[in-house]
């Protein structure tokens, strides 16, 4: 799954790429508007699943690139330091799927990307972690080809962790995201479900406990992944 990162600041570009790669995406960094316009014409870049676009770019700016991106049918998330309402409305009206204001949190970026991909029907169908295959279409989990029985919340928890793999979630975040705000505070629930996942999938060293924070599903093989 290829994501275009159109951002002129090399540090930020590298930051985004680093995290997207860790979460299992393939990235292509482009540093100015004109280069982006050119890149969209070639097959490989033109078939990307999503584009993260900085609004203030040298050459063609982010808003001007919208036309080219729409022609290539690539959903756009704007990434910008401008947080005024007018820019946001302008960006969203022009057809952007989302609008993220700098500075942003890595997890927020990943979740938003995931949401946009899902909404535009480009969500990943399968996530492979070692010998475990999560089939997001069939809502099933296979380990070594054999089906593993997971309760619905265990499955949701696994998917959440796997979709942003290598990124840590705090217990509160997981609770809020999966059980809803009513459960906030009962972090024991998360621990119990994590325990179940570890046992059922033999993920004792894959789902790591991050002290004073939460959990992270680790999978260092991401470079080889598609």
């Amino acid at each position: 799954m290829r994501i275009l990162v159109i951002e002129d600041d090399t540090a930020i570009s590298e930051l985004i790429c680093m995290n997207l790669q860790a979460a299992g995406y393939e990235t292509e960094a482009i540093f100015d508007g004109d280069a982006a316009e050119a890149a969209l014409k070639n097959e490989e870049s033109g078939s990307a699943a999503l584009a993260l676009v900085d609004v203030m770019l040298p050459g063609k700016d982010g808003f001007e690139l919208m036309e080219d991106l729409q022609r290539a049918q690539i959903p756009v998330i704007y990434l910008t330091a401008k947080d005024d309402v007018i820019s946001k409305v302008h960006g969203l009206k022009a057809g952007a799927e989302d609008y993220i204001v700098k500075p942003f949190e890595v997890l927020e970026l990943l979740v938003r990307i995931e949401k946009v991909l899902k909404r535009t029907g480009r969500g990943r169908e399968k996530i492979v972690i070692r010998d475990v295959v999560i089939d997001l279409k069939e809502h099933s989990v296979l380990k070594n080809g054999e089906k593993v029985n997971l309760k619905p919340m265990e499955y949701e928890l696994l998917v959440t962790l796997a979709q942003s793999k290598n990124v840590a979630f705090s217990r509160e975040e997981l609770l809020g995201r999966l059980w809803g705000v009513d459960y906030v505070g009962e972090t024991r629930t998360v621990d119990v479900h994590i325990g179940q996942l570890r046992k059922k999938l033999d993920f004792h060293d894959v789902i790591r406990t991050i002290s004073k924070h939460g959990y992270r599903l680790e999978d260092m093989e991401y470079e080889a992944m598609d």
Binding site: D9, T10, A11, L15, M18, P103, V106, A168
Partner: protein
């Protein structure tokens, strides 16, 4: 009270009182004159009559007459001289009275003076003049002649005259008041316009001017007022421009700070929560370090820029321009060495009044820019002559349409390349500010691909 009412009222009051008093005085005097003249007339008549009657009385030996004869004689004499006017008296006895009046006090000595004595008596509504004199009859001073006359007509005339005067007086005053009122109203009309203009201006329509073109004091005042309004408009425009510039600068500043902050936060976040590989961790730390450096550079440049807006500790002194150049060359030595460049300078200027530190900062900033723009091994020339110091490079130049903007804070022609070279877009803004403090200005001429020339010109300020 409105000024025009006040002025009209005062004028009317002054007119009323002054013309009233003078009119009354005139009437009073003319009345008195009339009366005196009339009395004088009668006095003459009385004198003549008294003399004539005396002669008649002397002429006849009427002591010998019987009382009836004497009476008849008196009647005869008095009738001869207008009987209706005189009363003849001897001692206390009225000898003959053919007037319609009765004299109450015929014995009164006042009637017997050598000079005529008179009094005016009011009877019913009539004024009666009574005037008596001793008759110069030889051998007797008991004879008196009294004149009685109705002089009401004089009073009636006076009254008619006064009444007539009052009418004219009122008409004249009314006319005068109306005239004064109209004149004041006309004279004050420009003040209303002035007031409206002032009101408009206070409501924010600063371009409003008073349309008063009279050549009087109000015209002068309107001209002064318009001058003031123009000045205020200028200053307000200047102020709003200045605040707009500052707002833009602050906007650029936050944006400019956001980029390194996004990196720092993002990398720190990644290091904390993301399972990174060893080389990625190192790269993240490196980025955090570099971006912090960028923040430090921005803040220190900004500090000097802000400092210069408020700082009055600028120290102006005479500086040898030659010394200035060698100081700049020394500071840039390392920078130049890295790109194997040379900085040559020629100085045809002796001394100049300046703040040495600020001027060094200005020149090093420009030389820094020149170094960044130049290729390895090229030259930079610094020159001072007449009223200017010029730094010339043979680098990439500035696109023509960007030249006016390069002195704006945070403006960068090529952001990506500029940041890589460690720029933050404040250098030339700083230089412009320093030049301004020295009463000089920055002139930039450049040709893309051929080089740039930046001059500090001590101008016509």
């Amino acid at each position: 009270m409105k000024l025009w009412i006040k002025m009209s009222a005062i004028t009317a009051a002054v007119l009323l009182v002054s013309t009233g008093i003078s009119g009354a005085a005139v009437i009073y005097h003319s009345a008195r004159y009339n009366k005196e003249k009339t009395i004088e007339n009668y006095e003459q008549q009385l004198n003549v009559a008294a003399y004539a009657v005396s002669r008649e009385l002397e002429y006849e030996p009427f002591q010998n007459f019987s009382e009836a004869t004497a009476n008849a004689y008196y009647h005869y004499v008095i009738e001869k001289y207008d009987a209706s006017m005189y009363i003849l008296i001897e001692g206390e006895q009225v000898l003959c009275n053919l007037t319609p009046y009765e004299l109450n006090n015929p014995g009164d000595d006042r009637w017997g003076g050598v000079e005529a004595y008179h009094m005016i008596q009011k009877l019913d509504n009539r004024y009666i003049l009574v005037m008596g004199i001793r008759m110069p009859v030889a051998g007797s001073d008991e004879y008196k002649l009294v004149l009685v006359r109705d002089i009401s007509k004089i009073y009636k005339d006076i009254r008619a005259q006064a009444f007539f005067y009052v009418r004219i007086y009122l008409a004249a005053v009314l006319m005068a008041v109306v005239l004064v009122f109209l004149m004041i109203k006309k004279a004050l009309a420009p003040l209303r316009e002035l007031q409206r203009a002032a009101q408009d201006i206070s409501e924010g329509r600063l371009e409003r001017r008073a349309k008063v073109h009279t050549s009087d004091e109000i015209g002068d005042m309107a001209a002064a007022f318009n001058g003031m309004a123009a000045q205020i408009e200028n200053q307000v425009t200047e102020l709003s421009l200045e605040s707009e510039r500052r707002r833009q600068m602050l906007g650029s500043l936050t944006h400019e700070m956001k980029t390194p902050m996004t990196s720092i936060m993002g990398y720190a976040d990644s290091l904390l929560h993301v399972n990174l590989k060893k080389d990625q961790k190192e790269s993240a730390l490196q980025h955090i370090y570099t971006e912090c450096g960028r923040l430090v550079r921005i803040s220190s440049k900004l500090m000097s820029l802000i400092g210069m807006y408020d700082n009055d500790s600028i120290c102006m002194e005479e500086v040898y321009v030659d010394d200035l150049f060698s100081a700049v060359a020394e500071m840039e030595e390392n920078n130049l060495k890295k790109k194997n460049m040379t900085l040559s300078y020629s100085c045809h200027m002796d001394k100049k009044i300046m703040d040495k530190d600020l001027m060094i900062s200005l020149l090093t900033n420009i030389v820094d820019n020149a170094v960044k723009a130049s290729k390895t091994g090229s030259d930079i020339i610094m020159e001072a002559k007449e009223d200017r110091i010029t730094v010339r490079d043979f680098g990439c130049g500035i696109p023509e349409d960007e030249i006016p903007r390069v002195t704006e804070a945070f403006y960068m022609v090529d952001k990506a390349r500029s940041r890589k070279a460690g720029g933050c877009g404040l250098g030339l803004a700083l230089c412009g500010k320093i030049a301004e403090l020295h009463g000089a200005e920055l002139e930039i001429t450049s040709k893309e691909g051929e080089g740039t020339e930046v001059s500090v010109i001590w101008g016509n300020v």
